[in-house]
Amino acid sequence: MDVLLLSRLQFTATTLFHFLFVPLTLGLSILVAIMETQYVRTGDETYLKMTKFWGKLFLINFAVGIVTGITLEFQFGTNWSRYSAYVGDVFGSLLAIEATAAFFLESTLIGVWVFGWKKLSAKAHAAVMWLVAGASNLSALWILTANGWMQQPVGYAFKNQRAELQDFAAVVFNKFSILQILHVIPASLLAGAFFVMGISAYHLLKKQNVEFFTKSFRLGLVFGFIFSIFVVFEGDFHARHVTETQPTKLAAMESLWETTESAPIYLLALPDEKNEKNAVQIGAIPGLLSFLGHHDFNAEIKGLKDFPKDERPPVLLTFLSFRIMVALGMYFPLVTLIGVYFRNRLLENAWYLKLMLFSIPLPFIAIEMGWLVAELGRQPWIVYGLMKTAAAVSPIAVSQVAVSLAAFIGVYGLLGALGYFLIIKYAVKGPEAVA
């Protein structure tokens, strides 16, 4: 074990963990804001109860998301100091802007929302929730802009032995970042929607608080339906842009070894990285990969063998992550479409409610897989084509990283277990417990 491997494991573990909670924050904050707005507009007490019930679950999740995010900002310095010194001129400002322009608002106003029920008018209180939701999503936007720059570095020049900012607008309006933002934020809203639908389904199955949870379910359904379709279509744009800018990632995503015209997608495949081929490939759909990459069934797609070995990402993991993400991405619009069909007969269709209950984790799995595709598929680069991950790591003692990694696993494991325990506890209790 060396510092590089341990630091990579630490960053992977802490990011994936943080990313279990953030999507729900992004999605649920908007759903709670909508509920509270409905309460203000209609005066219907059910909406107030909904705001409080879903708000409580939101806050437990929010707390874990917030505290685990802090360490990420500092890890660039602690574990990736060579990276930070080399690209900080471009990359650092994006994180600083995130803190000053978004995270401040989110963190200050969350306290106002929690403690301000009796100090603010109903309207102002709902407005605060909108600001929290807006700032949370804005925060994600800046983080994804920073990540987008690592995927497709733009607007910089080599000066003074480092990458220096040349064109700030190019960095902010980086196409890769925008496509990532349009992919990750809707996927997060989808996760929030499935969370609300799944928990509502649990109570509807028990025929508890039927009006309350039918209303909740339908709100989640509208959200889930719209954004699951959006994510699929956006994913298509995203994949084409990856083809253009990160050919090694695309080849790994589909485990394509030879450069091929009219490249197929195999329904079943298993990469064999050692022998540079697929151990299994069955069920070719001719030309589909070419179509995916270029919207042209005959286009040429570069295979992994055309890239030097030390510039290829880990194929198996990237491939599997992508497959799982895509499979789930197809499942979401399908299952919400069924929900739209049954929207007035939810109680009679217990099988559907059960399906939705067990679907709660799926958007989170899809999001984690997507993150793995984005980050693993970019390897061996920390900044695509510009700096390798191996060159980015801090010159620090291996023992330090081993201890911190162990501590992260222990502390985060405990935090995650407690966080989910509390979320489940309050979710099962239902709205009476928070009224």
Binding site: T78, G88, G92, T100, F104, S107, S404
Partner: protein, 338 residues
């Protein structure tokens, strides 16, 4: 050059604001086992910072983010050199944050006891470690020509570093006791005020020892001797300290807290001004030191970030001030969301 210097002082200012705001949260958390005699006391203590601590903590993230943006080399070398100390601080702050949220979620004394311990450790550890870290920066850090740290966590635990740790803790304890005096009533308020009274001479004593020790352990006074007008910042720190006692005796609690805030800001600037232009001095060879000039970002980045800070920081101050205004007064039963 001018731009880099402006950023140097903005950098110092962000740290100062962080310590001024989150300082009382850390102080109250550290006092929890002593002043929180009953569950009612503890609830008042925790809820006295309840709506504010999260926003306060973001000043730390901003200070970190701005270090990254404006002085990437300092960010890289400082945080990798202080790896273990920083990790301890971060873990402590994680534990403190969830403790506030989780503590009231299960109605059991054992459950609350665990989180009380987390609030305490999560508050006292950062208070001390920030002091240790900054005192060591004042003193110089063993970094070589490549910015590689030639020491361990224990290197930081030298007498001057520990003195810094104690001083920071005392600053925050008094700051926290004063905030609690403002927010509480009855017996708890009496004890909070008594604590501030008792701690004040200790705080003063350690401040004086630190000022003297800095003469021997650091080169902070070089700038002061070159520009004696700068001694005014030390006078401000002393005025703040005396102000605490003066206003506390008159039971003008908010003014006493304000004097404590002035003390903290002046104490940070005492170090920052003494350091200038160094940001992370090497005690192996001064040539290896990271300064505002050899570690800064390009002028373009500094200019863009300056616009961002000039637009957003006043905005943040306005809405945070509004928040403080909204939650002013004693902590009542109705205000307890934790």
């Amino acid at each position: 050059m001018v731009l880099e210097s402006i950023w140097f002082f903005l950098w110092g200012l962000l740290w100062a604001v962080y310590f001024m705001t989150d300082g009382f949260d850390l102080g109250i958390g550290s006092l929890l086992p002593i002043l929180g005699k009953s569950e009612a006391d503890k609830k008042v203590m925790i809820n006295s910072t309840g709506p504010l601590w999260d926003g306060n903590e973001v000043w730390l993230l901003t200070a970190g983010g701005v270090t990254f943006a404006a002085f990437p080399k300092v960010y890289a070398v400082m945080f990798s050199s202080l790896y273990s100390a920083l990790m301890l601080i971060l873990f402590a702050l994680i534990v403190r944050g969830v403790a506030f949220e989780f503590r009231g979620k299960i109605d059991s004394p054992q459950w609350r006891k665990i989180w009380d311990a987390c609030v305490f450790v999560g508050s006292i550890a950062p208070a001390v470690l920030f002091g240790v870290a900054f005192a060591n920066i004042f003193r110089g850090i063993p970094i070589d020509a490549d910015g590689v740290y030639q020491g361990s966590l224990f290197t930081l635990l030298n007498p001057y570093g520990l003195l810094g740790g104690i001083l920071f803790l005392l600053l925050f304890l008094v700051h926290g006791a004063l905030w609690l005096s403002i927010k509480s009533e009855g017996d708890l308020q009496q004890r909070a005020m008594a604590t501030a009274h008792k701690l004040w001479p200790v705080e003063l004593g350690f401040a004086v020892i630190f000022l003297v020790a800095s003469l021997f352990a650091t080169r902070l006074y070089d700038n002061y001797l070159a520009y004696p007008v700068l001694f005014i910042i030390i006078l401000l720190a002393v005025a703040g300290l005396l102000g605490i006692k003066f206003f506390l005796a008159k039971k003008a609690l908010f003014k006493a807290w304000f004097a404590s805030a002035l003390t903290i800001v002046a104490a940070v600037f005492y170090g920052v001004i003494g350091l200038y232009p160094d940001m992370f001095p090497s005690n192996i060879d001064a040539a290896y030191s990271l300064t505002a000039h050899n570690s800064a970002s390009s002028d373009l980045t500094l200019k863009i970030m300056l616009v961002v800070v000039i637009v957003f920081v006043p905005l943040v101050l306005i809405y945070q001030a509004w928040t403080y205004q909204l939650f002013k007064g004693k902590v009542k039963q109705d205000d307890m969301a934790y």
